[in-house]
Amino acid sequence: MKSAFVTVGTTSFDDLIACVAAEDSLRILKNLGYNRLVLQIGKGTVVPEPFSTESFTLDVYRYKDSLKEDLQQADLVISHAGAGSCLESLEKGKPLVVVVNEKLMNNHQLELAKQLHKEGHLFYCTCSTLRGLLQSMDLSTLKCYPPGQPEKFSAFLDKVVGLQK
């Protein structure tokens, strides 16, 4: 069972949902060996009809308290550029494709996705280039995302506040 998870967070991203649930995209995903697609659509107005056949299952929901489980089960995450979604996927070591919403320009959230893309941790595209990317990308080229080092922060703080061990 190989599954892809699409998440738009607490916002809506109708173009992405429409694009990824279209017949062409589903065919591409099937060809790549995926047999399950889960869509978390948030406040979106595009609500694809879920279905389940022998070879492919499409699940659709708006929100859940925690997306952890769906992220954990995913072999590929396709996400909006929200920082929370990006970081959580990378921390779980999931291959990540970030789809930029061109209708939301000057969104500061893009800063992080762009930077992480520059460093080779994720793929980055728009709705119109998503299908091409899915077909051409090589997930093995992605670099793993090392965990942050809060201990450096505590060591720094201990020193500057004069904490005696």
Binding site: H108, E111, K114, G148, Q149, D158
Partner: protein
């Protein structure tokens, strides 16, 4: 008329703050040796809370008691804080009650609220923040950018100006900020004792900031 008076008073207060701050900044800092220190943590909502709790999770027991400030109605942050403190307690001293407190204040700024009306809502939350900070008298305020942290830090600064207590203000800019500071960051750049950024591009733009690598 009243609003003009309030505005004038606010501008006056800010001017005094800046003058005092300039003086404090140019004065050499003395590191006071200590065994423990009281911590006030400003948790915001969503991503801000996740980030700051990772930092709090790395701090030793010397940072005690820990006072968390959250925005009213932010149940998500409250449950994340309880979870962190529970796991700390289980890890370190299962028999002792965890030393932490949760405080709620009104939101100072909703996402996309206009700048001018933010000034007034921030003044309103000052009304709640100052008595709170005065009661807690923390040694250190730790925050990372939710709007709520501005009135809290201004209150902490006021404690110093009034000669009640010098509070150390530590600001950690969110990991989301790669090239530009958040609005809170731009304000607290002037008010904090230690300003930490997590991307090299920001360190270049703000050379006096502290860059320790990615810490969350």
């Amino acid at each position: 008329m009243v609003s003009i008076l309030i505005l004038t008073a606010a501008v006056g207060a800010v001017t005094i703050l800046l003058v005092q701050r300039l003086w404090a900044v140019f004065r050499p800092h003395h590191v006071t040796p200590r065994k423990s220190l009281g911590l006030l943590i400003v948790a915001g909502s969503g991503g801000h809370t996740t980030e700051i709790l990772r930092l709090v999770g790395s701090l030793s027991h010397a940072y005690s008691p820990r006072h968390y400030v959250i925005a009213e109605s932010d149940e998500m942050s409250a449950s994340k804080i309880h979870a962190l403190e529970r796991s700390r307690a289980e890890r370190d001293s299962p028999t002792k009650c965890p030393q932490y407190h949760l405080h709620r204040i009104p939101r100072s700024r909703e996402v996309r609220q206009s700048w001018l009306s933010s000034v007034f809502t921030t003044l309103n939350s000052m009304w709640f923040s100052f008595p709170l900070v005065h009661r807690i008298k923390p040694d250190l305020v730790l925050c990372n950018g939710p709007g709520t942290c501005v009135p809290i830090c201004v209150s902490a600064l006021l404690l110093g100006i009034l000669g009640i207590k010098k509070v150390i203000i530590v600001y950690v800019e969110s990991i989301c900020r790669v090239e530009t500071l958040s609005l809170s960051g731009k304000i607290l750049w002037h008010l904090s004792d230690f300003f930490i950024v997590q991307w090299p591009a920001l360190k270049e733009k703000y050379p006096k900031s502290i860059y320790l690598g990615r810490i969350v």
